[in-house]
Symmetry: C2
Subunit: 314 residues, 2 copies
DNA sequence: ATGAAAGCGCTAACAC
DNA sequence: GTGTTAGCGCTTTCAT
């Protein structure tokens, strides 16, 4: 076992409470004493045991982050923001990958509850009941999901969809496919809502396809269906799917954007790596992890078209 | 504060130790008693406080994972493997993103040390001295780095490079560029070693370029240099760079694989998403997280060409 | 300004 | 098979 507060106390010839104070309330101990304590601690390589501390203070210094899939660039970007911000406030993050499974989601939150000061649920897919049951267990904040009375960081997905639709409409598209993602996705529903609301005014007919897995493969699969419906533009659930669509279109000899336009969501880094032009609705993922002064964390953040890839239309 | 073992004990009308036993050594308590305890616990929503437990057992049930960059698909794949495996053994993972900074790496390991049973260091870039200083702080296992006496999961990068070179050579390439990644990358050095060793026998001239950032942008940048050197094939440090190369080549009107062949490393999912054919040396990332019975965790794991994209050569 | 002592929630001897 | 008790490493009254 590592060096404890007692050994430091002994080494510095003071009581444990003095050592404790030297760390947690430095200016309540004599400057000379403090210096000595800190020095001894340094020499011994002492680091307070945060678990023990948490036991008495009730604050663990840990925050939990649950994502549906770490390997999804959208979520790994979020995760990166979370870890960075956590470090700033001297916290450490407990990560759980829910493997896109609502049950696992609920389970891991339960398991984490006791050892974190709160958990960030990224795009949780679990049903409202389970969600409510978790409240009270530990402070919760949702990302991209709006649930009665729960604090959330929301990105305005409906407006993103509207923007995309208006953009395509302005370019002359009249028949546009929408590729849905997971049924339980709040963002997905929001997009659909935005789409339906905006369609009449834009004078476009939307073909609603899906649901599909929010993956490259999902896009490949969806592309064929969209093609069969004779659309001139495709709105994919996210960039991963959009890239899949792009790939399948290329394989089938369909030119982008000449024959068909493709629009994604999220603006993951990958979307700037495609050969064919991919327009994407940028979601402010890193900003979502920033402190309130920088970003309205209880309100919603607004999507925008990405700068580097100007809309190309079909 | 949440429900403790005492309240369960009171509710089930037994002592705390019985409750404790009911959870940790179920068959040392009378079946009827146990059933009652578990039932009461369930009703009260009791979950043992793992921090408190760890305080006495000395085992935290946490494992730390440090990666240079969560947003790098190679590492998020590893991370996914780690979290999955951790869950199997009822552990939770503490994640730290070192932001490609060796100092941060050392720092976070220090901070984690006390609250984990061990830490997994993915491709650590810190120098040997710092690394050695960390030993003894907490059990360490390195991924893709070989350091005196430290347990490690190694992928045979040198052999991967050899395979790639032989493959290209067999296709007739005689002048091949190698794009180096971060100078502190063990895997990078291994590849270079493998390359140099294999070059003479393969009758190829290798042009060593770099170092470049292990990113898409790094690849874009490197592509121009490689082009200027008149090579017919390019070996990139990883798939991210390879995709950058592909992109730049397309922009400059260079046909792949007609004019130039591109080979990457890692076989991240993205590499199957490119339009131009990208050959990649698959690294067994998920397997690296598996238990010893499945994978020789103290030895090395061997790379192989990826099945889905058979080598296409230039 | 500093020390002694009482726990935080839990497990592990040690009794019975 | 079950209860009692002594800590794990730390913070925090309460004295001094």
């Amino acid at each position: 076992m590592a060096v404890t507060i007692h050994e430091v106390a002994k080494g510095a010839d003071v009581s444990v409470s003095t050592v404790s104070r030297a760390f947690t309330m430095p200016d309540m101990v004599n400057a000379a004493t403090r210096r000595k304590v800190l020095q001894v601690a340094e020499e011994l390589g002492y680091q307070p045991n945060r678990a023990a501390r948490g036991l008495v203070t009730g604050k663990t210094g840990n925050i939990g982050v649950v994502v549906p899939d770490v390997a999804n660039p959208f979520f790994s970007a979020m995760l990166k923001g979370c870890t960075a911000r956590a470090r700033e406030v001297r916290h450490v993050v407990f990560l759980a990958d829910a493997a896109e499974d609502p049950r696992v989601e609920a389970e891991v939150v339960g398991a984490m509850a006791k050892q974190v000061d709160g958990v960030v649920l990224c795009s949780p897919r679990m049903d409202p009941d389970h969600l409510q049951r978790l409240v009270g267990t530990t402070p919760l904040v949702l990302i991209n999901r709006d649930e009665a009375g729960l604090p959330a960081v929301l990105m305005d997905s409906a407006d993103g969809a509207r923007q995309a639709l208006e953009h395509l409409s302005a370019l002359g598209h009249r028949r546009i496919a929408h590729l849905a993602g997971p049924p339980a996705s709040w963002a997905g529903e929001e997009r659909l809502r935005g789409l339906r609301a905006a369609a009449p005014a834009c004078d476009v007919e939307t073909i609603e396809l899906g649901p599909f897995p929010p993956t490259f493969q999902g896009g490949v699969q969806a592309a064929d269906l969209a093609l069969a419906r004779g659309v001139t533009a495709i709105l994919a659930f996210n960039d991963l799917m959009a890239v899949g669509v792009l790939n399948r279109l290329a394989a089938r000899g369909v030119a982008v954007p000449t024959d068909i336009s493709v629009v994604g969501f999220d603006d993951i880094e990958m979307s700037s790596m495609t050969t064919a032009p991919l327009t994407t609705v940028r979601m402010p993922m890193e900003a979502a992890a920033a402190p309130p002064s920088t970003c309205c964390s209880t309100g919603s953040t607004h999507p925008s078209s990405r700068a580097p890839t100007p809309p190309t239309g079909g």
